[in-house]
Amino acid sequence: MNTEIQTLGQKPVFKSTSWFLSRQTTKKRTWKGLKQIVSSEKSLPWSENVVHYSSINTPPSFLPPEKLSDLSGLSAPYTDPQTRLRFANKEEYTTMIDLPMDITAGYLALRGATSIVG
């Protein structure tokens, strides 16, 4: 029996040039999400010299972000102090002041300016 398997090992007979359907597994496997994988990797005791996933992230930039109008995307010199939205001219301002709260919040989220501090 054993020897037979070994001779078969040289060139598996189950291989045909055409595709065969790989075996179906019925059991449902759940996979870890990326966040779980990253956090479990972070918790490993890395020594100082080792480079890994989290250590190759780029640091923040020195350059200031461009100030763009939230409504039109044009260069925006003004900021509305109430909603913190940026606008380029007075026409934009007139439409802006009528916007409901949820829309202004959406605009801010779009450019990632939701934090109160920033």
Partner: protein
């Protein structure tokens, strides 16, 4: 196929890596490349697949799609070509930020790719790419899928940047002394990898979490706020991005131009959206027709103005959308500056840009302008971008087969069964990495000498003042070289010299010993060679497999 043994060839490889010869790939041709391999560049958005003997790969979308028009059916990979109505296409992507996490999606796509409709594996070895620093659990899973489900005869994994580098080195006949920097700006992220002395310089690797996916999503968001709600139309908006997006030379100037009224504005474009009835794919409407026919009037038109260049601009300034990260140009400079001083100029001369984002018009020019302003004036700057940056890494597959140690690194199914995944993953992950160990040794050696050097500062009179200051400044590598040279020459009886020389000797003797034992060398021996990080108590799962 069966004419080569995976282990017998190790001799060649060992001698090469330990001998530290600067010669590139063996001058004598290693057998005719009679054997071909299936190269799979497994990108997060498209899989580039084909045999090394072929000229061009096939590009298959790496996703499963659901169309609104055909609710019953799933479209896997290339099958999307059969779909008539691509509106409201819903994507199931196997990757999360570039790392495969949804295997229930990836598996059917691979089934499709390796089926007869695209490319069968048969008995050929498989080379598949993975992102840099791929996680151990993902690699385990890949091993399992390929060896146990597909039962491939042999497998090799490397990063797409390796392939791009090899391709570039082959075409330009680079030697190992030429350093090279690969920037891979893909769907999920942008990796910047310096190659020094023919292998990756890990401490210089940088990742910017901006890729094509983020750009498409952002465009989708801003169009939804400004014009139509297109939140469901990822597929169409991705085409809009590809067709109209460009990278501008100067944002300020471009913004001023964009604020002009419609008639006198050279940027604004009307994009006719596809209706999947008459128009299969959207296009830019060149001029507004004088007397539009009824059909033409019914077209839905998207007006794009500053969106065209503001979106690709995120690559260069992720802070525009509140990301706390530097742009790709800055990151390239950062990466260059983190390498040893003697390689920096060479790196700046050989910058290879691959990945779909490079296809934006003006990308290369902008990159050049930014880098030119950030790098020293006297340095030569050379950017290389192939006409098709997406398939460029794939084309490096044939160059990979010709590298001297490829066959030794190839893992056969037998190896997998005997050694288990941890050991074979080390083989994959240490590919093009041999100088990493050297560098780490350098560094530890440097630390110890520096420490002793300071403690003996009063008694050691051979060290001049200049050298102290040199050691303090950031050019540590140079100073170290000076130190060792001085120590070796003058042969001071001090402990430092002894230790240093001993260190050197140890290194040499280790190399010799390796050469001697290499015929019998086992893979186990190979894995147990190196430093601290190999110790099982510290790294129960093996540290190199994370790299």
């Amino acid at each position: 196929m069966g004419d080569w043994e995976p282990k017998s060839g190790r001799t060649l490889k060992r001698r090469r890596s330990s001998g530290g010869s600067t010669k590139e790939v063996a001058p004598k041709p290693i057998k005719a490349p009679a054997f071909r391999a299936l190269v799979v560049d497994n990108g997060a958005y498209t899989i580039k697949v084909g045999f090394t003997t072929e000229e061009e790969p096939q590009v298959v979308p790496n996703c499963i799609m659901k169309a609104k028009s055909e609710k019953k059916r799933l479209f896997v990979g290339k099958q999307i070509e059969e779909c008539r109505d691509c509106s409201g296409l819903y994507f199931l992507l196997p990757c999360e930020k570039g790392y495969i996490t949804r295997w229930e999606v990836q598996k059917p796509v691979w089934d499709h790719v390796f089926s007869r409709s695209v490319c069968t594996i048969d008995e050929n070895p498989v080379v598949i790419t993975q992102p840099l620093f791929n996680f151990k659990s993902i690699q385990d899973c890949m091993d399992e899928v390929f060896f146990e489900e597909y039962e491939v005869s042999s497998l090799f994994r490397c990063t797409p940047t390796d392939l791009a580098y090899l391709n570039y080195a082959k075409h330009n006949k680079l030697t190992k002394s030429d350093a090279c920097l690969v920037m891979d700006s893909g769907f999920s992220f942008t990796h910047i990898v310096p190659y020094v002395r023919g292998s990756k310089f890990l401490r210089g690797v940088r990742r910017v979490n901006v890729g094509g996916k983020l750009l498409t999503n952002h465009l989708k968001d801003i169009i939804s706020y400004r014009q139509y709600n297109v939140m469901e139309e990822t597929y169409v908006i991705n085409q809009v991005k590809e067709d109209t997006g460009y990278v501008c030379a100067d944002v300020k100037k471009e913004l001023a131009e964009a604020s002009k009224p419609f008639g006198s504005n050279s940027i604004v474009k009307n994009y006719v959206l596809p209706d999947f009835n008459v128009i299969r794919r959207g296009y830019i409407q060149e001029t507004k027709p004088e007397n539009p026919s009824e059909v033409e009037e019914s077209y839905q038109v998207l007006r794009l103005n500053n969106e065209r260049f503001v979106v690709p601009e995120i690559l260069f300034h992720p802070s525009d959308i509140g990301m706390k990260s530097m742009g790709i140009a800055e990151a390239v400079v950062k990466s260059i500056m983190s390498t040893p001083k003697e390689h920096r100029q060479s790196l700046a001369k050989n910058i290879i840009m691959v990945g779909g984002n490079c296809k934006f018009p003006g990308f290369k020019e902008r990159m050049y302008a930014e880098l030119r302003s950030l790098l020293p004036d006297a340095w030569q700057l050379g950017l290389f971008q192939h006409a098709d940056p997406i398939t460029y890494p794939w084309k490096g597959g044939s160059a990979l087969l010709r590298t001297h140690d490829f066959r030794n690194n190839l893992v056969s199914k037998q190896d997998y069964e005997e050694l288990g995944s941890t050991l074979i993953q080390e083989r994959f992950n240490n590919f093009m990495l041999d100088s990493r160990q050297l560098d780490q040794e350098d560094e530890t050696g440097k630390h110890s000498t520096e420490f002793q050097y300071l403690s003996k500062l009063k008694s050691a009179s051979i060290f001049g003042k200049q050298e102290v200051s040199a050691a303090d400044s950031d050019i540590q590598i140079d100073s170290k070289a000076v130190e060792t040279a001085a120590l070796d020459k003058e042969d001071v009886g001090a402990e430092e010299a002894g230790q240093d020389a001993e260190g050197n000797k140890r290194g040499k003797s280790r190399n010799k010993a390796l050469e001697e034992t290499e015929v019998a060398a086992d893979v186990e021996a190979e894995s147990s060679e190196e430093d601290l990080t190999e110790s099982p108590s510290l790294f129960p799962l093996g540290c190199a497999s994370y790299l």
